[in-house]
């Protein structure tokens, strides 16, 4: 799931300074699960913004909506009838959702209320942690199901580096378990340490972030 975190209130207020009539748009998708951009967050953010602006003596009118998903065209359509009446849309969907709103409504100012952070999991209530960097060529079958790209701070393919601490933490931060320590422990318990013994060759990053926007085209599904 895609994770995000609301931008600081001061930053959002700064972006909204020129406007006094906006749409605040949440999303029922991923950002609802990570409690950053769902209906509830729309409500809280709207209240906070209104209070702040009232205290400044420049009230802000906010239309609160939460769309099924901001990354699918059909769910964006319902905004069309009323968008004209507002000066800007503040979206608290992920970066993809925010962009899709901007793309769909070309004459509307669209502002990000959320910092999109990573693809991750809910480790426990209130704690979300990154797991995948969408490298486009998954190697989890070689590394015991633990990702070297996302979970080693240096994305090493033949770790661990010399910085692993005695309690198995990454040199970068005590909060980060060393990804390679985990890979090795996992391979050992799976009796697959021979996977580690072989050097993994230089990875092709062609499938990763570096070639402009990536795409998946499925002829069988296209109309």
């Amino acid at each position: 799931m895609i994770m995000g975190e609301q931008k600081p209130l001061e930053v959002i207020l700064g972006m909204l300074a020129p406007y006094d009539k906006i749409v605040l748009a949440g999303c029922h998708g991923c950002v609802t699960v990570c409690r950053a951009g769902g209906a509830k967050e729309v409500e809280i953010l709207a209240s906070s913004l209104r209070l702040a602006r009232e205290a400044e003596g420049r009230p802000l009118e906010i239309k609160e909506v939460t769309l099924e998903r901001q990354c699918d065209p059909e769910y964006l359509e319902p905004m069309r009838p009323y968008l004209e009446d507002y000066q800007a849309v503040l979206s608290i969907a992920c970066g993809a959702g925010i962009q899709f709103v901007a793309e769909k409504y070309t004459s509307t100012v669209v502002l990000p209320g959320l910092d999109t952070t990573f693809i991750g999991v809910t480790e426990k209530q209130g704690l979300w942690v990154e797991r995948c960097q969408a490298c486009g060529d998954c190697v989890l079958h070689l590394t015991g199901g633990i990702c070297p790209v996302a979970r080693c701070s240096k994305s090493l393919f033949n770790g661990p580096c010399g910085g692993t601490t005695t309690d198995g933490r990454c040199e970068v931060d005590k909060e980060i378990p060393c990804g390679w320590m985990m890979i090795i422990e996992r391979l050992r318990s799976l009796n697959q340490l021979e996977n580690y013994r072989k050097n993994l060759p230089m990875k092709s990053w062609k499938t990763s972030r570096d070639g402009g926007p990536r795409r998946i085209a499925r002829e069988d599904l296209m109309e």
């Binding site: 240096k154 090493l156 770790g159 661990p160 580096c161 320590m181 230089m202 990053w205």
Partner: protein
């Protein structure tokens, strides 16, 4: 194929090798590196120059090495994969060889969060093991990874680092074996203070027969004070300083602690020298380069063999 590296010759002739390292200046004044080079002349076989160690910006390792080379010294260029993608690495490997450098140390590098520019974007296109493979391919096959031929392959003696003290311990000899597979020819270890554990590590290394395939230089660093020992133990990841070493330093009056540190360092070298499979010592005296000749002298490592490397 043999390189023109003096270090390789020293090994070939069966000597116990001595290397050291120095950090380039945080500025563009070549005198700083020349002074360090002069201090080290005659007491070591080769000198590593660090590559933006701990992610703190310094003069380029290649440039500093070229300055040492000009002085008739034998530098080892360190190269980290943190800051360069494979295009830049290939180009710098050619550049190093072009400047007449004969040896390279392949590293992944400390993470950028340790340095002055934690906001930098890191690269890590490849890792240290893949860098060893890259240099070896360019040298021995005369080819780039793209398959294209190299006009004048870089003839570099290939080294890497190894930390026998970082977790998971049991994997460290195996990781060394991976580096040997990749084609590494010499290894410089992390500073050794826990000799018992290092000896255990070497037992494993010998069981795997690695000591016959790669020259291992045992790393040592003289402690300047008890405070430094405590600081390193606490703050440097993968650094193992046993309590009795710290105690020995702490039991020494402050003014004599530096001398005690040198004494411990010399003792360590003497003991490490006897460990089967240890082919040399790598003396790292960070910003204390003037002590390297003293340590080499006291440990009976002088004079260094007089090797006339054919100029290429």
């Amino acid at each position: 194929m043999k390189t023109a590296s003096r270090l390789e010759r020293v090994f070939d002739e069966g000597h116990f090798a001595v290397t050291t390292e120095c950090g380039p200046p945080r500025g563009s004044d070549p005198e700083v590196i020349r002074k360090k080079g002069e201090l080290l002349r005659g007491s070591v076989d080769a000198i590593n120059v660090t590559d933006n160690q701990t992610s703190v910006v310094r003069m380029a390792s290649i440039a500093s090495c070229a300055i040492l080379k000009e002085m008739g010294l034998e530098p080892i260029v360190q190269m980290v994969t943190r800051d360069r993608n494979r295009i830049s690495l290939q180009s710098d490997i050619l550049g190093a060889a072009g400047l007449g450098l004969n040896a390279i140390l392949c590293l992944s590098g400390d993470h950028q969060t340790f340095g002055d520019d934690p906001d930098a974007k890191n690269v890590f296109d490849i890792d240290s093991i893949q860098l060893i493979e890259l240099v070896k391919m360019m040298r021995d096959e005369g080819k780039f990874p793209s398959g294209k031929e190299i006009q004048g392959p870089p003839n570099l003696f290939i080294g890497a680092a190894c930390n026998p003290f970082a977790e998971p311990f049991e994997i460290r000899p195996i990781r060394l074996a991976k580096k040997v597979d990749a084609g590494v020819q010499f290894i410089q270890t992390q500073c050794i203070y826990n000799l018992d554990r290092f000896e255990k590590f070497m037992d494993e290394v010998r069981k795997l027969g690695l000591h016959e395939q790669v020259k291992i230089l045992a790393g040592v660093t003289p402690l300047k004070s008890a405070g430094m020992a405590k600081f390193m133990k606490k703050n440097v990841a993968g650094m193992d300083i046993p309590d009795d070493v710290i105690q020995r330093m702490a039991d020494t009056p402050k003014e004599e602690q530096a001398a005690k540190g040198i004494e411990i360092c010399v003792e360590s070298i003497e003991r490490l020298r006897k460990v089967e499979g240890v082919a040399g010592a790598h003396i790292m005296a960070i910003e204390w380069e003037k002590m390297v000749p003293v340590i080499a002298e006291k440990a009976g490592l002088l004079p260094r063999p007089d090797i006339s490397v054919p100029s290429d």
